[in-house]
């Protein structure tokens, strides 16, 4: 059955169409073409002609003209709109005109670079000029490296390699750094949060070295749609970028459907699980021969949903359904990507790992199981279905959370508003200090040199006091340690070190995956069920010290879900502000959070019923971060202790969701906790804090826009059709008045003072 017929059937089936809150059809769009500019080298022109390109899309022409004028450029157009040509063309043109010219391509992951290099090679292969382009990453053989350093016109690498292998050894890359004309940063939207903060600092180091060798490279960035491309470009490169966002590429007809699962228990407002709906709809799509990708939020869900699909589809399709997520080994992932490109694989369930531009070809249907937490993510996910031609559908299946319910009932907030800003915070002190060390290793610091921040000299003094740096008699700061600083600094997390997962069932124990330490507390504690490619493993032993978890294959009909107990302590108040009525105070500052995994629940597959629980014995984890908190006068509301507690908990639940929408971060980037009597003043307090050591700027932003955050939270709670609070608005509640109390509490801040009048 074709997709058009299936959509038609769904439209006519009340059981489906009644659950649809929004069905949008974006008509096919024609291409807008422009001529190739005259200044383009004849060789490049000929190469394009051989590929059948006689004209450019409008955004491509705009981008290369801007580059030609010497501007730094950021191209922000949809997937498959031909972004790569926007940088390949100027780079190849430059090399044809001057064979000494060099370019550096930075891709966030190895997989991405492989795809793009193939495309680059194809184009460069049509040139008369012999353009040497090489991938320089961990897999590059040692004997090839020398040649790449000397002869590579285009060096393709990733931020990690740049950080650990290229910059610390810059003298060996003299030819590249002396002649560097272009730095290409693809998929720039990936560089947000902690990773982005690291990468921005790596770029600072790169710029520093280029300046030293006398080159002034131009930056060409490409990114998926974000709300703040200028800001992202500037924060990443410390330069002003010209943004090009108007796409001239064609697009096929697209259907966007917002689907809210039916209510199964009206009193509690309980809806059918989004995972079960994704199970049913996905099986139908795949069975009809429609290639389908589903995005889920947790790694566990990847395994759960893909095994549901495997059970549900006909025998002949069973081996064409896969799970895909971080934690699989690279070879396994590559083979799944290949299968998707070739069309061999018909169904895949993924975490956001496949949101990135990994080339998996174009699928016909995408299902977002639950709102992915950001508009940008949602667009990336739905963009996986349908590219230039033909019909495609993208389904959002809402889950019970307040955020999802808000969105499924206000589709315009997602479809019309610009996607979130990609925020990074290169000034995170811990990250900054790490990169100042690396930079000092690479080139000594002048006493008055500034590295991103004005307080660089203070940092240098600090490091000198700790004998990491040494100030020479000429005032410059030198690296003074026999260690290589970049070796102990990983860009992918602020807290280091992964835990590898070892399967002991096999005669030869084998590593089947890995995860970060913080997640290990809740996913790899002893007795946890770890799921991998739909197989269950039970964790037998977690050796946190050595970063190993030993698991054994088991037949289990349940999975586990762990809870964290959190203790929070304020270290320092950076800023504070009172609300108009004087009943509450907003503050932001540094906090110390101690988290301990306490309990886990065993949850049955299919029914999701609770089968029992167990204790977790793991040491406490400590997080030093930045927080926002709101503290109320006890007499602000006529509540008793338990009413305060319920109101605070409910408000925290709603505020967290509002924060993720307004401050453009994912739900997991920010944590919330409450105290009925805080340690200092004994007052009711609600805390939100960044989930990364040193903070990444989210809580500070909540502080600045606190009123908006409270407004949105209040609206979410008020708009929810439930009577007394439900998982869609204020979280699970038993107290009938809780919803009203939460609204009252939120109102004290949204300055709707008439309530108290």
């Amino acid at each position: 059955m074709q997709l058009a017929m299936l959509l038609d059937e769904w439209r006519r089936t009340p059981a489906f169409s009644e659950q649809v809150t929004h069905w949008e059809i974006t008509p096919a769009r024609l291409a807008r073409y422009r001529d190739i500019p005259d200044w383009v080298h004849p060789q490049v022109r000929a190469a394009l002609a051989q590929k059948g390109i006689k004209q450019l899309y409008s955004h491509q022409q705009e981008a290369i003209e801007a580059v030609h004028e010497g501007q730094n450029v950021m191209v922000v157009t949809p997937t498959a709109s031909g972004k790569t040509l926007c940088y390949n063309l100027p780079v190849l043109d430059a090399i044809c005109k001057d064979e000494n010219a060099r370019a550096l391509y930075i891709f966030p992951t190895k997989a991405l670079s492989q795809d793009q290099v193939a495309e680059l090679h194809e184009l460069a292969g049509h040139l008369v000029t012999n353009v040497q382009s090489y991938t320089y990453d961990g897999d590059t053989p040692v004997h090839a490296r020398q040649k790449i350093r000397e002869a590579g016109h285009i060096v393709v690498t990733n931020p990690d390699m740049l950080h650990a292998a290229m910059l610390p050894h810059h003298t060996k890359w003299l030819r590249l750094f002396e002649n560097l004309k272009y730095v290409v940063i693809d998929e720039a939207h990936i560089y947000r949060g902690v990773f982005g903060s690291h990468v921005a600092n790596v770029i600072r180091r790169l710029s520093r070295i280029c300046t030293y060798y006398g080159s002034q490279p131009q930056f060409i960035l490409s990114s998926a749609t974000v709300a703040n491309p200028e800001e992202l470009g500037r924060e990443l490169t410390d330069r002003t970028v010209r943004v090009i966002s108007e796409s001239g590429a064609p697009q096929g007809e697209r259907h966007t459907i917002f689907y809210n699962p039916p209510i199964v228990q009206p009193q509690l407002g309980l809806r059918k699980s989004s995972l079960q709906e994704a199970r049913r709809l996905g099986v139908r799509l795949i069975t009809e021969g429609i290639s389908t990708i589903a995005f889920v939020k947790a790694r566990t869900q990847v395994e759960v949903l893909s095994s549901y699909w495997k059970q549900g589809v006909p025998e002949r399709l069973r081996h064409k359904v896969f799970g895909y997520r971080g934690g699989y080994l690279p070879t396994e992932r590559r083979s799944i990507e290949r299968g998707l490109r070739s069309g061999e694989i018909r169904g895949v369930v993924s975490t956001n790992a496949l949101e990135l531009g990994v080339d998996i070809g174009s699928l016909e249907a995408s299902i977002s199981v639950g709102y992915p937490g950001s508009i940008a993510s949602f667009r990336q996910q739905s963009g996986r279905a349908g590219r230039r031609h033909g019909l495609s559908v993208s389904l959002l299946i809402a889950n019970a959370s307040a955020l999802d319910q808000y969105i499924v009932n206000h589709p315009r907030t997602v479809l019309d508003s610009p996607p979130e800003a990609a925020r990074l915070y290169p000034e995170n002190l811990l990250i900054l200090a790490d990169h100042v060390k690396c930079a000092a290793y690479e080139l000594p610091f002048a006493a008055d040199e500034s590295f991103g921040v004005e307080t660089t000299s203070e940092l240098l003094e600090y490091l000198a006091q700790h004998r990491v740096l040494h100030q020479g008699s000429d005032g410059r700061y030198f690296w003074m340690s026999d260690a290589l600083p970049s070796h102990s600094i990983s860009l992918r997390s602020a807290a280091q070190d992964n835990v590898v997962i070892i399967d002991e069932t096999l005669p030869k124990p084998k590593v089947i995956g890995e995860t970060d330490r913080f997640s290990a507390l809740t996913t790899l504690h002893e007795e946890a069920i770890y799921l991998h490619q739909s197989k269950s493993y039970q964790v037998e032993r977690l050796d946190l010290e050595n970063g190993k978890a030993f698991v054994r294959a088991v037949e289990a009909d349940y999975y586990t879900d762990a809870e964290l107990a959190v203790r929070l302590q304020v270290l320092d108040v950076l800023e504070e502000a009172s609300v108009k009525s004087g009943v509450a105070v907003h503050r932001t500052g540094e906090v110390m959070v101690n988290a301990m995994a306490t309990l886990f629940k065993k949850i049955k597959f299919d029914t999701h019923e609770n089968l029992g629980w167990g204790k977790i014995h793991l040491p406490e984890a400590e997080l030093h971060s930045v927080g926002y908190w709101c503290q109320w006068r006890r007499d602000a509301l006529p509540f008793d202790n338990s009413q305060w507690e319920n109101a605070l908990l409910g408000a925290a639940y709603a505020l967290k969701q509002a924060t993720s929408l307004l401050c453009m971060c994912s739900l997991s980037d920010v944590h919330a906790t409450v105290q009925i009597r805080d340690v200092l003043d004994g007052m009711p307090t609600l805390y939100l804090y960044d989930a990364y050591p040193g903070g990444v700027g989210i809580s500070e932003r909540v502080f600045r826009v606190a009123k908006d955050v409270f407004d949105m939270a209040l609206q979410m709670v008020t708009d929810c059709p439930c009577e007394a609070g439900c998982p869609s608005c204020i979280g699970p509640q038993t107290e009938p008045a809780a919803k009203r109390h939460v609204q009252d509490l939120l109102r004290t801040v949204t300055s709707s003072e008439e309530v108290f009048a």
């Binding site: 000092a440 080139l443 600090y462 005032g475 003074m480 600083p485 540094e590 030093h624």
Partner: protein, 439 residues
């Protein structure tokens, strides 16, 4: 109220348990003012390095110092006299490291002490030692980088005075460490990098003494070959720490042992050059089988087969002659197609080392392809197969992977498989030959 950046950073570092700031912090010092710099450098005669014999280099206050140590060529270092370098057969040594022939006067013995073991841009050689023959003396120049600011002057001095065209660098592991580091530094200052021949003694040393020494380091070779025993020597890895400490305390006593250590290293380079040249030229007898074999292999490479053969034969006559000595000799014979002697060695090995598979395989090949004696070929193949099966079982049982479900197919060692194949072929040939003869 708000804490200072330093306090915040200190707390943050502590909370993530970073080890690199656990060292004892020095008490905060008032920032050094510009005009204080001049006063910081005391007049040269009072400088703590002066009593150790150092003089400023590249102008007073440049941060670069040099001291010159002169040794009479009659000086004995371990069991070598420095003067022996003048008569050493450097051509043989140069051949072994694939370098054009060198003159003793053109050698620059070079060694450095560095701030770390990496070869990145931030690892800095703070002490460069160059030794050379000048008239009837071995003269050792030690350049010490007291302050990073003096590095340009130091490098300039090195390249203009010592690393001039036509000289050759003698080092131990300098090819992949000291020299690339020096080039890094020169690149940093955009200086022209001298392209000089490298005689790296590590490679011939490794070939000669790999079997004898646990780790082929300059210290180990020195003790074993030059008969030199260092007393109170500073372990090389402590040098960076002392240097960093000096940077803060300006106490030259900290560095005195580093300078000594470095000077001894360079002197040993001279001694080792003399010794290696003598050994490779056959002028200095060696005792161990593995050494004879190593020399034999050099001659083999140079196609001086008779000399090579002598070495291999000498190797077999040593009390410590082992399986490998025999094996390498047999390969030498095989290459030269001296079959009678080769088969003799293989047969000896097959009997002396009753577990050994390879000699039996060689015999099988020889009888199958050279002699077309299929009966003997079958015999040796069967011997080899039997041994290979036993060996693969030992490996199999010793490993962790004892698993019943691994079928016999998976467990067949490739050597066993190929021997089975050989056996079948030989039997086929024997059968065919028998049939032909019968007809």
């Amino acid at each position: 109220m708000a804490r200072s950046l330093k306090e915040r950073l200190a707390a943050l570092q502590k909370s993530v348990g970073r080890p690199d700031v656990e060292g004892t912090p020095t008490p905060p010092q008032p920032p050094v003012r510009e005009d204080a710099f001049a006063a910081e450098v005391p007049p040269a005669e009072e400088h703590p390095l002066v009593p150790l014999g150092f003089q400023p280099c590249g102008g007073a206050g440049a941060g670069c110092w040099v001291r010159v140590l002169r040794y009479d060529l009659l000086t004995v270092h371990g069991n070598v006299r420095f003067g022996d370098i003048l008569s050493a057969k450097l051509d043989v040594l140069c051949r072994a490291v694939r370098q054009p022939c060198a003159e003793a006067e053109n050698l620059r013995f070079y060694d450095t002490e560095t701030t770390g073991l990496g070869t990145g841009a931030g690892t800095i050689p703070f002490l460069h030692a160059v030794a050379r023959i000048e008239g009837d003396e071995l003269v050792l120049y030690q350049y010490f980088l007291e302050d990073y600011g003096g590095e340009a002057a130091l490098l300039e001095e090195l390249s203009s005075k010592h690393f001039t065209e036509g000289v050759q660098i003698v080092s131990f592991n300098g090819k992949s460490f000291d020299w690339p580091l020096l080039k890094n530094r020169m690149t940093m200052y955009r200086m022209r990098q001298p392209e000089l021949g490298q005689i790296d003694l590590l490679y011939p040393s490794r070939r000669l003494w790999k079997a004898r020494l646990e780790r082929v380091t300059l210290g180990a070779v020195e003790e074993a070959v030059l008969g030199l025993v260092r007393t109170d020597d500073l372990p090389g890895k402590e040098a960076p720490g002392r240097y960093f400490e000096y940077a803060v305390r300006r106490d030259a006593e900290l560095l005195a042992p580093v300078f000594e250590h470095n000077a001894t290293d360079v002197c040993s380079l001279v001694g080792l050059t003399v010794t290696l040249a003598a050994i490779l030229a056959g002028d200095l007898p060696v005792e161990r089988s593995s050494e004879h074999v190593a020399i034999g292999r050099y001659y083999d490479e140079w196609q001086e087969y008779d000399l090579a053969a002598k070495c291999f034969v000498a190797a077999l006559q040593c009390p410590d002659a082992d399986w490998k000595s025999h094996w390498l000799y047999s390969l030498h014979l095989k290459r030269r197609q001296l079959w009678a002697e080769a088969t003799r060695v293989w047969e000896h090995m097959a009997h002396a080392y009753s577990w050994s598979v390879q000699p039996a395989v060689e015999l099988a090949k020889y009888y199958e392809h050279r002699q077309r004696d299929y009966a003997l070929a079958e015999h040796w193949t069967a011997v080899a197969l039997e041994r290979a099966v036993v060996q693969s079982r030992i490996v199999y049982r010793g490993g962790v992977s004892v698993s019943p479900d691994l079928g016999s197919e998976a467990s067949v060692h490739p050597v066993v498989a190929s021997l089975r194949h050989r056996l079948q072929r030989v039997q086929r040939k024997a059968h065919r030959q028998g049939a032909t003869l019968a007809r």
